[in-house]
């Protein structure tokens, strides 16, 4: 009899647990749950790459830097008042979306290409573009290959698995009617090693990535990037679908950095521009309007971003240009200077 009682108790206990648990998974409220949770935790949960120089890369003491990292820093400056209050989670290409949808991270700033199926199908929302990229090919300088038109049947190409690169590569070789051998690795470091060893004749990924990975080769000068670009790769930060307020905060944190560059506001002059004559600048530094209130933030949110993180131009120069990855800004120049960076006005 005793054992029956125990069993009944166990049964009831588990039923009770199930009943309680049901409440936890309920629908989200109208307010921004992510914003509340971030304020409560005291840091922004940010997903980054496993190490891509210029975009998100950790130094020897574990400090992250790069233009992707700066997006997370901008969000932290806006929401928490301190750009350093970010917790970084390095993610592989495969893990990144699951980490975001499951709530392990709240912002994904990991050189991620904005595509229709990613945006619409798997519960994600892209908030903007912080780097316009395109896929290219790297070959050995002595190979005699000077253009993608020199590729012939039987060429082997290394790349990362689980990326748009893999799909573009197929489209490209199919359109040229070239039979190729695709070799897809999970980690970028392994792609570099295999290509460097001669396992494959060409290495294909986003051109910014090629430029960054070239620095990791045993002899970077032996390799070159072919001039052709075979795809559009707009890279940008991503958030979970369903929290419109959080989505807006991340979108406008990025937009603020770009708009600040457009109006010549940077980290050193921002606070002195509070009494500028230009109303657009005054709005950017929080001296006019009540823009922060729309997301439940104070009015200095954008000033903090510019002061602590800098404008887009400063970020690009520091992480991409001065490190020698891509000194030329190309399409990532402001629309007023011949590029395609154009953000809606902050007003």
């Amino acid at each position: 009899m005793k054992s029956i009682k125990t069993w009944i108790l166990v049964g009831f206990a588990s039923l009770l647990l199930v009943a309680c648990g049901q409440g936890g998974g309920g629908a989200g409220s109208k307010k921004s749950k992510t914003l509340d949770n971030t304020k409560k935790a005291g840091f922004v949960k940010c997903g980054v790459s496993q190490g891509l120089p210029g975009f998100s890369n950790a130094d020897a003491s574990g400090n992250w830097s790069g233009i992707d990292v700066d997006v997370c820093r901008a969000v932290a400056a806006a929401v928490l008042g301190d750009a350093d209050k970010v917790k970084y989670t390095p993610l592989s290409a495969k893990e990144r979306f699951t980490a975001l949808t499951s709530g392990e991270i709240d912002v994904l700033a990991r050189n991620t290409t904005w595509t229709l199926s990613r945006d619409a199908d798997i519960g994600l929302t892209f908030v903007g573009v912080n780097f316009y990229d395109g896929q290219g090919f790297m070959v050995r300088k002595n190979s005699g290959i000077n253009s993608v038109n020199d590729f012939k049947n039987g060429i082997s190409a290394c790349t990362n698995t689980g990326t748009t690169t893999e799909l573009n590569m197929r489209d490209f070789f199919n359109s040229k009617n070239i039979k190729y051998e695709p070799i897809a690795f999970e980690k970028a470091d392994e792609v570099v090693q295999a290509y460097d060893a001669g396992r494959c004749d060409t290495y294909t990924t986003d051109k910014s990535g090629l430029a960054a990975q070239r620095t990791k080769m045993s002899n970077p000068d032996e390799h070159k990037v072919l001039p052709e670009t075979i795809s559009k790769e707009p890279l940008g930060p991503v958030v979970r679908q369903g929290d419109a307020v959080w989505e807006d905060i991340v979108r406008w944190s990025l937009n603020t950095m770009i708009e600040a560059e457009e109006y010549g506001v940077n980290s050193s002059n921002a606070s002195s521009l509070k009494d500028s004559d230009n109303p657009a600048i005054k709005r950017l530094v929080g001296a006019e309007g009540e823009l922060g209130a729309a997301f439940g933030l104070d009015n200095d949110w954008s000033l903090r971003i510019i002061e602590q993180v800098g404008n887009y131009g400063e970020s690009y120069k520091k992480h991409i240009a001065d490190t020698g990855i891509l000194p030329n800004r190309g399409p990532n120049q402001l629309w007023t200077k011949g590029g395609i960076l154009y953000v809606p006005p902050a007003r």
């Binding site: 069993w7 005699g144 060429i155 060893a197």
Partner: protein
């Protein structure tokens, strides 16, 4: 209805209650997780379904045993990955077993050098994590191989290079007849064996079964070649220049280095455990058995074949089954070196392109479960066959 049977005082009914409650609790937990996942996925705008399996995969795979390119479906890509997993597992199990038996027997050798080499092999390879061994074979050992233009040539018909091992391709005519002759040979061998057993049991005659079997296996296909138009030609790999310094081989079959490295690492690693099982099995046979066999005048080979091995196998098979299962599951480390197994192709690329984590991971887990259970069932059958039969 007999009321007495449903009475709580009835012991059978009483015994059933805790079991029913356990099942109920288990079901509730499963239902809880399922509904929870459903609600959360609903909140985040993620749909659930297996329709994606029919969509075009639009990514290519390095190595496939069936016809595949990006225009095929995700379902087909799954099949490619599954077959690649099975291929590397079968190769791995085959070589691990051979190496394991050789090393296991060598460890018991009376020759000091052989025994010590075997011991060192076991101690080194079983104590290094498998993933490191895979990296070693792929990045360190294979990296030392030459580029195609300097490939290591085997008689100019096969070439070993950093891009893979290029071997001649078999081109058959009337392959069906060849296949039939092999099947016929296997059936014939079965009859030879049962006839030999009868002869031995009834008249005590020993027939040379093995020689007869080999003879049949050669003779029947030979008849096919001579009289039924079966023929075999080879397509040899030929060096091809792609650019001033880039070469590859055209024609023939390319065994990709990823497969070589993975199969090597898996079989070298698992062989150590099998070797220990073999050693334990042989040592586990009572010494008296061997002495008794020797006293009735059996030769050394007969003792091993008729007395020691049948008993040792009973000890060896169950733990070796575990090793076969481990090897199959360990093959999932393939993703690290770009061998397109089910984890890399399906739980990797396909998952990324479709974002259907729950569906794809459950399919992959079920697949491994099915593979493992199939191996278990086969090995349990073999184990029963080898077990002591009371007559």
């Amino acid at each position: 209805m007999n009321l007495k049977k449903l009475n709580i005082e009835n012991k059978k009914v009483r015994d059933l209650i805790p079991q029913a409650i356990t099942i109920l609790a288990l079901l509730s937990v499963i239902i809880y997780f399922a509904t929870n996942a459903q609600i959360n996925m609903g909140n985040r705008g993620i749909s659930f379904g297996f329709g994606f399996l029919n969509q075009e995969a639009s990514f290519d795979i390095t190595f496939s045993m069936i016809e595949y390119d990006g225009s095929h479906s995700y379902g087909r890509a799954f099949l490619v990955g599954l077959l690649n997993t099975i291929l590397v597992s079968v190769i791995g199990i085959f070589f691990a077993t051979i190496a394991g038996v050789i090393v296991g027997v060598s460890r018991l050798s009376e020759n000091y050098l052989i025994a010590k080499v075997a011991e060192w092999y076991v101690e080194i390879f079983r104590n290094i994590p498998l993933i490191l061994q895979i990296f070693f074979w792929y990045f360190a050992a294979l990296r030392a191989l030459p580029l195609p233009e300097n490939g290591i040539s085997f008689n100019d018909i096969s070439f070993l290079t950093i891009k893979g091992w290029y071997v001649p391709k078999f081109i058959w005519t009337n392959f069906n007849i060849f296949l039939l002759s092999i099947i016929a040979a296997i059936i014939a061998i079965y009859f030879i064996k049962s006839y030999a057993t009868k002869q031995r049991e009834q008249f005590g005659k020993q027939l040379p079964t093995i020689s007869l079997s080999i003879l049949t296996l050669i003779l029947l296909p030979l008849i096919g070649f001579l009289f039924f138009g079966v023929s075999l030609n080879f397509e040899y790999p030929v060096l091809k220049q792609l650019s001033p310094t880039v070469y590859t081989y055209a024609g023939g079959v390319s065994i990709i280095p990823e497969l070589i490295a993975l199969a090597l690492a898996l079989s070298m690693y698992t062989a150590t455990f099998i070797a220990e099982n073999v050693r334990a099995g042989i040592l586990g046979v009572n010494k008296g058995q061997k002495e008794a066999a020797a006293s009735i005048g059996l030769t050394k080979n007969q003792i091993l074949k008729l007395v020691v091995m049948p008993q040792a196998l009973r000890i060896i098979i169950p733990p070796t089954t575990n090793q076969y299962l481990n090897l199959t599951k360990n093959s999932s480390l393939a993703a690290a070196i770009a061998y397109p197994d089910i984890v890399l192709v399906f739980a990797g690329t396909a998952l990324m392109q479709t974002g259907r984590a729950i569906e794809i991971i459950s399919i992959t887990m079920l697949t491994y479960l099915t593979l493992s259970i199939s191996i278990s069932i086969f090995m349990n059958w073999y184990n029963k066959k080898m077990a002591i039969k009371e007559k």
